[in-house]
Symmetry: C2
Subunit: 331 residues, 2 copies
């Protein structure tokens, strides 16, 4: 609200120039990553791709947050250790740094706190933290890298998760066509896409989906005006706060790169973006949208696909005689 008021004031002061008008938009430009600690980012990337942080030796963060696929696994619920079915759709790690908290229910305050979860989660990587640390400690190249970056702290859960988080902070997707439009290039969007954006604002989508990530700024009830019917047992933020009013309240997901992060919703039940837009309109706002209007909004949403992070696959240092062996099967 504050930002909007300031923007309007500025716009008034300078005349309603295109630039100033855009400054009042509900969505802000994503800035390219500024890398201040390249060695730490490189280490975090290794850890993000490190299957030896899982019990099987097979699953890494990138298995479920595949950076070839917009940072998701693109299936309704994830495949974890022993092919166990996960409880909820995996959100993207792209632009996750803009989220007010991590996980659908916001139970982790930040990326560092989040990263400790999946390693030990028995349905995900199923690896006791102390064994994960032993794996890294058994490998001289990791020892040297942690020492160079963290000095005395060396290899610990907190340095491991710090490095992963710092890598994840670089996973932003700037320069989408919509950002180009925000930056003043009016030709970056087609007429249909502009109409979709106008509908997005007019229909109050932007009341919930706003900020640089077009989401991730608040928790909201899923099924505000009409229940969202799902088999998925997730209860949302009530699990964190214990408050009945937080039942079915979820972190508003980012709509950046939404073209890539199908299937949609916390249960991964909807594959088609236009369909997802219609569901939103129905359960959150209660006003029917025509197919044409929903299509326009979907067309606008596809302009939010940004430049994907250019990742050079890390080359991981080999295990040694001291490295705890992976346990892929029935142990």
């Amino acid at each position: 609200m504050k930002t909007t008021l300031i923007a309007i004031t500025v716009a008034a002061a300078f005349g309603a120039s295109a630039l100033c008008a855009l400054a009042a938009e509900p969505i802000q430009i994503i800035e390219p990553a500024v890398i201040t600690e390249p060695a730490k980012v490189e280490l975090g990337k290794k850890l993000f791709f490190e299957p030896r942080l899982s019990k099987s030796g097979f699953l890494s963060c990138n298995s479920c947050h595949n950076l070839s696929l917009g940072g998701v696994d693109a299936i309704p619920t994830s495949i974890g250790h022993d092919w166990q079915e996960g409880p909820i759709n995996a959100p993207t790690v792209l632009n996750a740094k803009y989220m007010l908290a991590q996980f659908w229910d916001g139970r982790a305050a930040d990326l560092q706190e989040q990263a400790a979860g999946p390693i030990e989660n028995p349905k995900e990587m199923a690896m006791e933290h102390h064994i994960a640390l032993k794996v890294l400690e058994s490998i001289p190249q990791y020892q040297a890298e942690f020492k160079a970056i963290y000095g005395e702290q060396g290899i610990s859960l907190s340095t491991v998760t710090d490095a992963i988080a710092v890598f994840e902070e670089t996973l932003v997707t700037p320069n989408s066509r919509f950002d180009q439009y925000l930056a003043g290039d009016h030709d970056a969007l087609s007429a249909e896409e502009k109409a979709g954006y106008a509908l997005f604002k007019a229909n109050a989508c932007s009341a919930c989906h706003n900020g640089p990530a077009v989401g991730g700024t608040s928790y909201q009830k899923m099924g505000l005006v009409q229940p969202f019917v799902t088999d998925n047992p997730a209860q949302g933020r009530i699990d964190v706060t214990g408050k009945e009013s937080d039942r079915n309240v979820f972190k508003v997901p980012t709509l950046r790169n939404i073209e890539l992060t199908y299937p949609y919703f916390h249960d991964g039940s909807v594959w088609d973006l236009t369909e997802a837009v219609k569901v939103m309109q129905q359960v959150q706002l209660g006003l029917p949208l025509s197919d044409e209007e929903a299509g326009k909004i979907a067309a606008f949403l596809k302009t939010l696909t940004g430049e994907q992070p250019q990742i050079t696959l890390p080359i991981l240092p080999p295990s040694t005689a001291e490295t705890p062996r992976p346990q892929p099967f029935g142990q």
Copy 2:
């Protein structure tokens, strides 16, 4: 044999200069990849990383031939669809183009023929070929890429496997310390490593492990002088030829990057390289090696680790409404 004779002749003609002496070595230098069809390599890379070629939408070639891990999964036997345990240790895809044929038993003539196997193998990617092709056909970016590269042929099993094979041909690991040594840099190896190489030749390891890939030039009986004890039911090349004399005969694996491709042997039973050297000496040659000698050979073998392919992670084009949905669980 021919090469050796020529090399000796050349060496005689010019005097036994270092270079000419080295030309007679059983191991040849790995040359860097020369990329003549960059668009095809790029497409093949996408397909190598494409989990939508699997029934689950989760497994790609890179899941089991992880290019962060020397082209293997680094577990004794692979994890396939539905976490099924594979029958045999996954060989590396690095330098696979130098193999006289593909698979442990040589049942595929070349990389292109090989690539069709894992997609449809119910224990690997478990994806009927016609559905895999439908996935690619449903995605306009793939359609355009195949058309630009293959013209009329478009998307077919043969073009898909051709692109994968052409990508795999680029997965060579030149410029190992041993290659530098072969190229004339005598300081590239330590005294211990040189001693290990001398033992490797003196003990006739190089009778089987030779050529640029230090293996892959012949089929040989595993357990030539003493049986190799294993629970693994694989019978080797007899499955291809039907000849009793081919029981327990396997393609000699490459020793390039052997430091990275643990665990060893077709059953993945041995994790330690020095131990693997001792097993070889015992079952193939019958002459005991001291720990010290085996250690020297292992030290030499580690000089065969070459420059790993620098892979920029491909960004895969999104699915469409026409794309067959992945079936990760119980369908």
